[in-house]
Symmetry: C2
Subunit: 402 residues, 2 copies
């Protein structure tokens, strides 16, 4: 038994790449038995996420697929589809991220799977809501970023449309899907009934961006245009110091006045442009411009010390490389060196959150492609011959069979 709040929950995960695996990763980390169903060639992320010792478990794949079991099924064949339906019939949650037509054709729609299994929670990570004109379009992280305003916000900041430097649409919508699944699990405990969930990426990211940036167009008639001027101001950035950059946040009057005092400019507190939250909002460009030039005389370490003593919120700036050496992350043990059966030693990213009731006890290394095909199908009641026939259909060679 895995331990953790979701112990005893079985998830059949038919998703691939990032949005679905993010969602099922959370469920797996807290104790669910997540069975990742892959096509014979494997999840695209195994290679798309970069090189690896075996060539089949990229770093990004590792970080989104631990604590899961991998089953290879070639869903182009009927025996594989039948085996899959068998797995789904004993599952608590099924996660899919194909398009509507493909879902229907494969017999994997909520209607098909829940007809005889009303306790099942079916979570469909769709690209787009089914009542809109984009319903059947394909969706991927970058095109959702570009269509939902992420790139629009980047353009306001940088002058040219570009994407955020993370898989922001995939990663964010994956987190949102977890909420929907957990809410359905909660409700099932009360009512005995499962649910059919649709999580469209485009609408979720549009809503995410609009909560932040609909701004003055939220009122009718509008009080102005879109965009939060504080967040879209290019002067709002880590501040240059004598030897690098420092990150500073001074929003309330108390913090801002402490900042003015700490840098030896107490007279700024009386400046009508900067003397209140509303005044600084109105004069945000001047305020940010001032901050940008204010800290060049001392080192980052000196300023951190000064701001700590003055209760001005500040932190060191980290590159992606220096982040790995952050002393606080070492204190809390975020990165854990573990042995992987095929990839040698890898760094697992531990769970950031603490729950008095605990997470799972064991750790399953990210699975090799089809590593648990035999085990899972045998547990599902298939006999050795049936499993052998499926593996032949899967075109798995002996080395893939574990």
């Amino acid at each position: 038994m895995s331990g953790g709040p979701l112990e005893g929950i079985r998830v059949i995960d038919l998703s691939s790449v990032v949005v679905g695996p993010v969602a099922t990763q959370f469920l797996a980390d807290y104790g669910a038995d997540v069975i990742k169903v892959e096509p014979p060639e494997g999840d695209l992320l195994r290679k798309l996420g970069g090189s690896s010792p075996s060539g089949d478990l990229s770093a990004k794949f590792l970080h989104f697929n631990r604590n899961k079991r991998s089953v290879v099924l070639d869903l182009k064949t009927e025996p594989a589809r039948e085996a899959l339906r068998g797995l789904c019939s004993k599952a608590d949650v099924v996660v899919v991220n194909m398009r509507g037509g493909a879902l229907e054709r494969a017999g994997l729609s909520a209607e098909a799977l829940r007809a005889d299994h009303p306790r099942l929670i079916h979570c469909w990570l769709a690209g787009f809501g089914q009542s809109g004109r984009y319903a059947d379009k394909p969706a991927y992280d970058t095109i959702i970023q570009g269509a939902s305003g992420v790139s629009g916000a980047m353009e306001r900041l940088h002058g040219e449309p570009c994407y955020a430097p993370v898989l922001m649409a995939d990663h964010t919508v994956g987190l949102i899907a977890v909420q929907m699944i957990l809410m359905a699990l909660y409700r099932r405990e009360k009512t005995g009934l499962g649910d059919a969930i649709q999580v469209p990426m485009f609408e979720n990211m549009a809503a995410f961006m609009l909560t932040e940036h609909m701004a003055l167009r939220s009122f009718d008639p509008p009080l102005g245009g879109t965009g939060d001027p504080r967040i879209l101001d290019p002067r709002n950035r880590p501040l240059p110091t004598r030897d690098g950059h420092i990150c500073l946040s001074a929003n309330t009057d108390a913090q801002t006045f402490a900042f003015f005092d700490a840098i030896g400019k107490p007279e700024m507190k009386a400046d009508p442009r900067f003397c209140s939250v509303a005044a600084r909002f109105e004069n945000v460009q001047a305020y940010f411009e001032f901050r940008l030039g204010a800290l060049r005389e001392r080192t980052t370490a000196e300023w951190l010390d000064i701001f700590d003593r003055a209760s001005v919120p500040a932190m060191p700036y980290h590159t992606l490389e220096t982040l790995l050496d952050d002393p606080h992350l070492r204190d809390v043990g975020l990165l854990e060196r573990v042995a992987h059966p095929s990839e040698g030693a890898i760094w697992n990213i531990g769970l950031p959150n603490r729950l008095a009731s605990g997470a799972r006890h064991d750790y399953l290394p990210p699975p090799r492609r089809g590593e648990h095909t035999h085990e899972v199908l045998a547990q599902a009641g298939l006999d050795a011959d049936a499993i052998a026939r499926l593996c032949t259909l899967n075109r798995l060679d002996a080395s893939d069979r574990n």
Copy 2:
């Protein structure tokens, strides 16, 4: 009754600005009774989020606080603290985002609140894990972005450290907090026991960034440096067309080859740099460079039509302004014009997700400061005199008293 899967759940929300309100917004949207406890001056976001007709309900505040009730309590006074403890003793969930010391002093730690109320779920949105050296530091969105690698990734993309053009740390960690709360609610149905949850912003964002960008340093010995070269490449952006930009995603061989065919360059399919997922990963700069110049001859509409027919995933690029006019978002009715008692007509951002079991039936407009103080305290059993005394302590004037 509100309807929705979380009907009957009462949440006392002591958080402010964004990270906590994001979390409780989700709970409220699905039927929980969220009581937002504000200091006499109100949540900072009421003004920090921009101007509004009343001056006290900025657009950003509106979008993160609908379906909640607002109670003003001046927690510097003992009668207010006592009233708050009374509210917490009847709650299912308490959400806090102050620092550890302040939490202890106010008697709002998990230990204090759960001692006589083991069914309570206490969710603490901390800045940092308590076993690390940053435990007592203050945390805000920008400084967490700067410290956790968000700005580091932006620097790799743009050459200079800057922040993402959204409250990425607040918004993302708020979504993660919802997961933890819902998981605890699920488990409570099974065991009868609540939970104590700690959600540190810094570790969560560091983990978010490292899953994407630890990359070749995930292996020990490392196979290379940090950073996903596909995502951090500045050439990976919406592609210029004759009259604007288009967003394109072609990752699999099938999509990429269809793209080469669609633009009249079938010979590219045989180019050894571009003929497989692994080859394009190795030659990602050349591949992106090629794409960037490939679409300048036709308009966005022409390319969208061509790519639709060729099954190449593509979408129009939206600015923050044009996003509001997207026809699919109109089809699905994402934006709903509603009347607000103090702000006139406002645009509510509807729920993107569908759940067969439904969301809440009613809609509560984002509350005026302290709008429900009388109502909530009376429901909690306080008599008219006690409520009047608290309101005097709160320094609420008559117009604030609803």
